[in-house]
């Protein structure tokens, strides 16, 4: 099965095309989108298994030899991210059946999601820097559609901002690739990694490293390039917000991780110090935002920014323990953010508002929602048996080992702030005096709860079953820390 690693990309693509033929039939759309996601999830799980057994999988498209064709590479990190992406999308689509109106469903809502998944999975899997740009555009185009679909006034305003920012950052991406190409003369990522060591041009390579940090920093929302994120994520409906929050910024984080562990290793004291400083500042602005708002959407959105900072801080340490922690935290964060957004969506559905001050006393009426939310909130903050613990623990351990006391303490304090910000939602919305809530259909509430509860269960299992995941995570971290494994797998010499 030479092409196995392409299945998680091609199956969503195929089903997205098929969906275009059935614009008017909502039932057909739902059946096809679920089948497509089911088959691609199965293939992704099998891919993780194969990568575990046989090591890094590569295929060079069109049977060309390695540095000349486009190589797709699936190491453990990308296989895990692809699987997580598909699982999250599966639950979000299930949730969309009850949370999205028919008008959107009939106007290419599901095809747009599948095209976005094609782009995201492609960006996680590609081994060619320009192909990565193309896949970035694929998922960005689809995300523009999703962010504007429905045409509410707020969505129109925010999608203009979102598109402007991303068009600019894509232009910078192309320029950066052009600089890199003019120096190393290749686009294959493994080949770039080899040539960068050979050309011995530390100055210009460092400039390119910072340019990549700017490009992917805009996509991944690091300080000071996060400014577009809070308002443009708040505009689209909740399932779209869930997909954006759980997946899109993480592609930027993955791209920074990949380039900073594969390409830019010749002047770590310069490039990785920038990455570390900016990621810590990202955590700080995220905390300020998460504590400042009384709007449930904004609180969780700023928590995305905090998480991006924490993960990149772990990456910037370039240390085995911290890298493993970052990968644990990355996957945990994708799952828990998706779960939290889905729960927030239900909260907004039952109260009819996203303002915390107008909520209260929901515990009696909706106990299941309350307790599920509490578990998810504890998981996000990193209370030990739950999923957020091990990642942050390893990052902090790595930071102390490397002697970065300030960073380690900042990460620990950020956990407190995260806990405070999400528990505030719990206290305001579920405790206290009951406030009048609009009449809501109980069955619709129950059906929306199913995917949210399943996702929270999954994060709990992720936290409890950490031991079982250790070999996968250490495999992923090993490839990041030892680029020669990646290079050998691609160039096969």
């Amino acid at each position: 099965m030479t092409n196995l690693l392409l299945f998680p990309i091609l199956i969503p693509f195929l089903f997205a095309i098929l969906l275009l033929f059935f614009k008017e039939s909502v039932l057909m759309q739902r059946i096809l989108v679920m089948t497509g996601l089911f088959f691609s999830t199965v293939s992704a799980l099998y891919l993780v298994f194969v990568v575990k057994e046989d090591g890094i999988q590569t295929v060079t498209l069109g049977s060309w030899p390695a540095p000349f064709g486009i190589t797709m590479v699936s190491d453990m990190l990308s296989a895990l991210l692809v699987t997580t992406t598909l699982i999250i999308t599966f639950f979000v689509v299930l949730y969309s059946f009850y949370a999205i109106d028919e008008g959107r469903e009939k106007n290419f809502y599901y095809p747009a999601i599948l095209f976005m998944i094609t782009g995201i999975n492609g960006a996680f899997t590609t081994g060619d820097i320009f192909n990565m740009f193309v896949f970035f555009e694929v998922f960005l185009m689809a995300s523009y559609v999703l962010s504007v679909l429905g045409g509410e006034k707020k969505q129109l305003r925010e999608s203009i901002k979102y598109m402007l920012v991303n068009v600019v950052s894509s232009a910078v991406f192309v320029i950066t690739v052009a600089y890199l190409y003019s120096i190393v003369g290749t686009l294959n990522m493994a080949d770039i990694s080899v040539r960068i060591q050979e050309v011995n041009q530390p100055g210009i390579i460092s400039v390119i490293a910072i340019l990549f940090l700017i490009v992917f920093g805009i996509k991944g929302a690091i300080f000071p390039l996060y400014f577009w994120l809070p308002s443009s994520y708040a505009a689209p409906p909740i399932p779209v917000l869930t997909l954006f929050g759980a997946l899109l910024t993480k592609v930027g984080v993955y791209a920074i991780t990949r380039t900073y562990t594969l390409f830019f290793l010749q002047d770590i004291s310069f490039t990785h110090m920038w990455l570390m400083g900016l990621s810590l500042l990202t955590v700080v602005v995220g905390i300020i935002g998460a504590l400042a708002y009384f709007d449930v959407k904004q609180i969780i959105i700023y928590n995305i920014i905090i998480a991006v900072g924490v993960i990149l801080f772990g990456v910037s340490l370039m240390d085995g323990t911290a890298m493993e922690g970052s990968i644990y935290y990355l996957i945990h964060d994708m799952l828990i953010k998706a779960a939290l957004f889905l729960l927030i969506g239900i909260l907004i559905y039952v109260t009819g508002t996203s303002n915390l001050r107008e909520m209260g006393g929901l515990m009696k009426q909706y106990p299941a929602l309350g307790w599920t939310y509490l578990i998810a909130a504890f998981g996000l903050a990193g209370i030990p048996p739950l999923s957020g613990f091990i990642g942050k623990f390893l990052i902090v351990k790595g930071a102390f080992q490397a002697g970065h006391w300030i960073g380690a303490i900042a990460i620990l304090l950020s956990s407190l702030a995260v806990l405070l910000s999400v528990i505030r939602i719990f206290i305001y919305a579920f405790w206290g005096e009951p406030k009048p809530t609009p009449e809501r259909s109980k069955t619709r509430y129950n059906r929306m709860m199913i995917p949210a509860v399943l996702l929270v269960t999954l994060t709990v299992l992720y936290g409890v079953g950490t031991e079982a995941l250790v070999p996968y995570m250490s495999d992923a971290a090993d490839v990041l820390l030892d680029p020669s494994a990646y290079v050998n797998a691609v160039l096969k010499e």
């Binding site: 099965m1 030479t2 092409n3 392409l6 091609l10 693509f13 195929l14 095309i17 098929l18 275009l20 033929f21 614009k23 295929v59 060079t60 498209l61 069109g62 049977s63």
Partner: protein, 140 residues
């Protein structure tokens, strides 16, 4: 006053076919000379656009009763299936086959499955271009 487009419409009826044939030529010439699916598709869209300028949206829709969105989907499907075909033989995705064939009427011709991929690109470009023009130009 009623305007009379008789010159424009008569010229269009002739020129349309010249542009259309040229676009087909560009499409098939892509492997050895400049051209290919993208430019060919754009030229075809240009020819259709000329029809739209000379006549109106309703007439053109009547003459070409396609849903151009389906054309986009068909183009994507053709491109995906030609690229995915080699996967059945356990070859990497996008591997193309080619060879020289002695065809009746056409004589010896070299055929390449990349043309089918190009056909997909052509259909996507025509479909997308026409969808954009019809949506912006029309009421719906």
């Amino acid at each position: 006053m009623k305007t009379n487009d008789v010159i424009l419409q008569t010229t269009t009826k002739v020129v349309f076919f010249i542009i259309f044939l040229f676009s087909i030529h560009i499409f098939f010439a892509g492997h050895y000379t400049p051209g290919g699916g993208f430019v060919g598709g754009l030229l075809t869209t240009g020819a259709l656009l000329l029809l739209l300028l000379a006549f109106d949206l309703k007439t053109v829709r009547k003459a070409l009763p396609f849903n151009f969105l389906i054309v986009v989907a068909l183009g994507l499907l053709i491109a995906l299936l030609t690229s995915a075909w080699p996967m059945l033989f356990n070859e990497p995705f996008l591997t193309h086959a080619f060879g020289d064939y002695d065809l009746p009427f056409l004589g010896e011709s070299s055929l390449h499955t990349a043309t089918l991929f190009d056909l997909g690109v052509y259909l996507v470009v025509v479909g997308a271009g026409m969808t954009m023009i019809q949506t912006i130009g029309g009421d719906t």
